[in-house]
């Protein structure tokens, strides 16, 4: 066994075969890189080690007991046995224990087909069932409108508990009771949480499940479409499971998007509108006061004629064309082309965030995921990331929870992440600008008075921000005008000191930035709406003449 001179790698032997693996890797990961899958339940990437399911045990030379590969760090010269009768028996034994009190109701379990317990039993389990004692049946219960808990199917990997604690920082799930009476449950029996459904997604069994997918189509009968969540600007990758024209679920397991496996409640459960009978799914033309289905050709012809009539009668600018922060860049560009064809200057969209002012003032580049992960200080002003950009909130909380960065929040909203903030300044609504003035070196007395906080708050915050070296400023939609300008330039307003400052506008809509990029140069929305205001209120539903 040679020590690699670079010490980036080391050599271990697996069942007698030497293999080179990254130094410092977890054994289970190192083996996976060699194409050796070690069965596991409690191990999950990015979650704290657990070592409770005992599925991943391996024999390591010189160790008296079998060792969990999910907590063992590889060492040069380590000799590991993973495929011996001892290990095979052990795996069978663990699975047999897990199945002992399991209801074995796979035919009606919605996890069936993508259940890790099923898969592992199929690969490593016993053939004959030796358990002939009584099971302890537990009825399944709804623990929220979105999630139900079929506790008897649980294998106690605690992924759900850790996901809720660590990814979400919510802590709504817990182990209840002890020993064989243990169940995963909630405080008070009801789930008081954000309903992100991540606990359901990581559950290897059919224990925590989506109510909306209960007795839904079997997973293998779903068509899965990778797409992007259409709610907020974070743009999580989701996989929509549909059958026919009905969407049944939205998941991110084994996700490849920037969100990895994270989704918030909107991306997870906010899809029922797609299936709504009230949706307009085909062109309709109003005739005699009643909307009637029409062909696309008829509809387009109708619209073109009406717009042409209006332009002829009242001038091209009597027609305004509106894009949106909720549609793709391509759609917005197409809308701009229509406006061009109609010869109108009245092209606009309704912004959810004053990006024009922000972009004009911003004193550095926009913060990336990497900037957030490596910041020593994160300052949120006038917003609540958990509401505005939940994935961003999740990303910024990770280094904060690990103690690697400090969070500061100043907002008139009781932003939920404030409980992790080193300092939270509760502002009077509209107090953002004066606070920023104080942070920029203005009188803290004056600043505090109008911002609705104490002078010491302003001073402490200023000191913390000035001490930062890698600062991310998150600017919420409560910042307008002067506040927005100051927030977007905070880096250049703070006192002396070398620091790397990046900015994140907490825009709310999924394509605010795209709409600004494609349509931002157009006429201000308020002007368009102002000019058209009387027209809109005066007009009655049109009847073809």
């Amino acid at each position: 066994m040679s020590t690699d001179t670079t010490s980036q790698t080391c050599t271990i032997t697996v069942d007698g075969v030497p293999v080179v693996v990254p130094a410092g890797a977890l054994l289970i990961e190192a083996l996976k890189m060699q194409g050796i899958d070690i069965p596991n339940f409690c191990y999950y990437q990015n979650l704290p080690a657990q070592a409770s399911c005992r599925m991943c045990l391996v024999r390591i030379e010189k160790m008296p007991r079998l060792q969990p590969s999910c907590t063992t760090i590889v060492k040069d010269g380590m000799a590991v046995e993973v495929n011996t009768p001892e290990i095979t028996d052990m795996r069978r034994g663990m699975l047999e224990f897990m199945l002992a009190d399991h209801p074995l109701d796979c035919p009606v379990c919605d996890r069936g087909g993508e259940c890790e317990l099923q898969d592992n039993v199929f690969k490593f389990g016993h053939v004959d069932a030796r358990f002939t004692e009584d099971k302890h049946p537990i009825p399944d219960v709804d623990i929220s409108p979105f999630i139900y808990n079929d506790a008897q199917r649980c294998v106690f990997c605690y992924r759900c508990v850790r996901v809720c604690d660590v990814w979400m920082d919510v802590g709504a799930l817990a182990k209840l009771n002890r020993g064989s009476h243990e169940t995963i449950g909630t405080f008070d029996g009801w789930l008081d949480c954000e309903h992100c459904g991540n606990c359901v997604d990581v559950c290897p069994t059919g224990t925590l499940m989506h109510t909306s997918y209960k007795y839904g189509p079997r997973p293998w009968n779903l068509d899965e479409t990778e797409t992007t969540c259409s709610y907020c600007a974070d743009g999580c990758r989701v996989r929509l499971g549909s059958r026919g024209n009905v969407v049944h679920r939205s998941v991110a397991r084994q996700g490849t998007g920037i969100n990895e496996e994270y989704l918030c409640v909107k991306g997870r459960y906010g899809f029922d509108y797609i299936n709504s009978g009230e949706r307009v799914t085909q062109p309709l033309i109003r005739k005699h006061g009643e909307l009637r289905p029409a062909t696309w050709d008829d509809a387009l012809e109708h619209v073109a004629k009406r717009l042409g009539d209006i332009a002829k009668a009242k001038g091209a600018d009597a027609v305004a064309v509106l894009g949106s922060t909720r549609i793709t860049n391509e759609a917005n560009v197409a809308i701009a082309i229509v406006a061009d064809a109609l010869d109108t200057t009245q092209l606009s969209y309704k912004p959810d965030f004053d990006l024009a002012t922000f972009m004009k003032s911003v004193a550095g580049r926009l913060a990336t995921k990497a900037d957030i992960a490596s910041a020593d200080t994160i300052f949120v002003i006038g917003g609540d990331p958990k509401e505005d950009q939940p994935l961003t909130a999740h990303q910024l909380l990770q280094p904060v929870l690990k103690g690697r960065s400090a969070l500061y929040v100043a907002s008139s909203r009781l932003a939920r992440i404030r409980k992790r903030a080193s300092q939270f300044v509760h502002l009077r609504p509209g107090g953002e600008a004066v606070l920023l003035l104080g942070l920029a070196g203005g009188s803290s007395d004056v600043s505090a008075k109008s911002a609705g906080c104490a002078p010491s708050d302003v001073e402490a915050l200023r000191k913390a921000l000035e001490a930062s070296r890698r600062l991310v400023v998150m600017v919420g939609s409560e910042c307008h005008g002067a506040a927005l300008e100051a927030a977007a330039a905070l880096g250049s307003l703070l006192g002396d000191g070398e620091r790397h400052v990046t900015y994140r506008p907490l825009v709310e809509d999924n394509n605010s930035v795209g709409a600004y990029d494609t349509l931002g140069q157009g006429v201000a929305y308020s002007e368009v709406i102002g000019a058209l205001g009387d027209l809109i209120t005066a007009s009655t539903p049109s009847e073809p003449t």
Binding site: Q50, M55, M90, E133, F156, R178, G179, E182
Partner: protein, 429 residues
Amino acid sequence: MADPVKVVSKRFGIPDSHTLDVYLQHDGYVALEKAVKSMQPAEVIDEVKKSALRGRGGAGFPTGMKWGFVPKDSPKPKYIVCNADESEPGTFKDRAVMEFDPHSLIEGCLIAAYALGSHTCYIYIRGEYGWVQDIMDVAIREAYAKGYCGKNILGTDFSCDVYTHPGAGAYICGEETALLNSLEGKRGHPRIKPPFPAVEGLYGCPTVVNNVETLATVPWIIQHGGDTFRQLGTEKSGGTRLVSVCGHVNKPGVYEIPLGYPMKDLLEKECGGIRNGNKLKAVIPGGSSVPIITAEEAYRVKLDFESIGEVGSMLGSGGVIVMDETADVFESTFRLVHFYKHESCGWCTPCRDGGDWMEQIFDRISIGGGRSEDLDLITSLGRNIEGKSHCALGDALVWPITSAMKKFPEDFQRALDRGKKLLREPAAV
């Protein structure tokens, strides 16, 4: 043999031995004064190493070596945690120490704290020992009042606080890392080791966890020297220790014996023999978690770590459970299976699910539902639990079963046959 020297129990039986005044009349706090005024911390650790003192909580780990694992240069605070959770069936010696000699434990904690550079000791007391905690609390108050605890102990610049903390009734919280979780206010699950408590223990700081008796032995070692203590026992098992004897003997109780003392003498001299002149059947020599031994083995074994190992058992926590010929080892084992199943913390698969299954099998056999294949099944399940669980409770569930099946097969066979008997009886009516 001359009357054995008493170390931990030397003040037992003296009227008001739990008070500071009486303690001071009998060498009380002499060792603490010697340590803090005339010894370097490293010298204290060396003395304990020399004594060959091994932990009295169950695992028998050399105490001096454990103390040596605590990193000297860590900038973090260090903690001394006394394990007074004593919940192992058959074990009740720590309770005697705390009831009759609480100051010896306080003194032991303080000497350990001095040796390891700690300023805080926690004594984690079994929840059911409410009155014992009261005794400890009174003793601690007395010690504070006289300057043995708190700031500038005995006028030196060594300061140390001592607190008690009650458990909530879980056996698993005697496992040192589950204890630390519980002390931190978390659920009592054992932690992943490594890191060991000596490096990352209470609140992530270096921590020594020692049993009550272990710590209460330290003052004597410091006062009389490690070598003197070691010579009281055998070469490898130094000193004396407490054993708590219960079951079918005439005089059950807590006795101090030198290590290497014959079990036969303990049963016959100290404990006055087996009750009603009955014959001895079996002994569990070190608390319920260790393998059971037969009468024949008990009569030839000596109470030291090595000799007990030769008959396939352990000294464990010093709880000696004695059973005479009237006992049914299947039934006594069933009791223990029920205990371990009930006390499984539920963290890991083999102990949580295997324990429950095991109990159900014993339950079925006990009511006459035994099957010929049950013994093989029990053995096989035991193999899947032993050595695979997250903490030693899983092993503690299996050892009593496998040893009892091996050493008392006739009791298990009789239990298996109960059903046959039940079936025959109605026919005879």
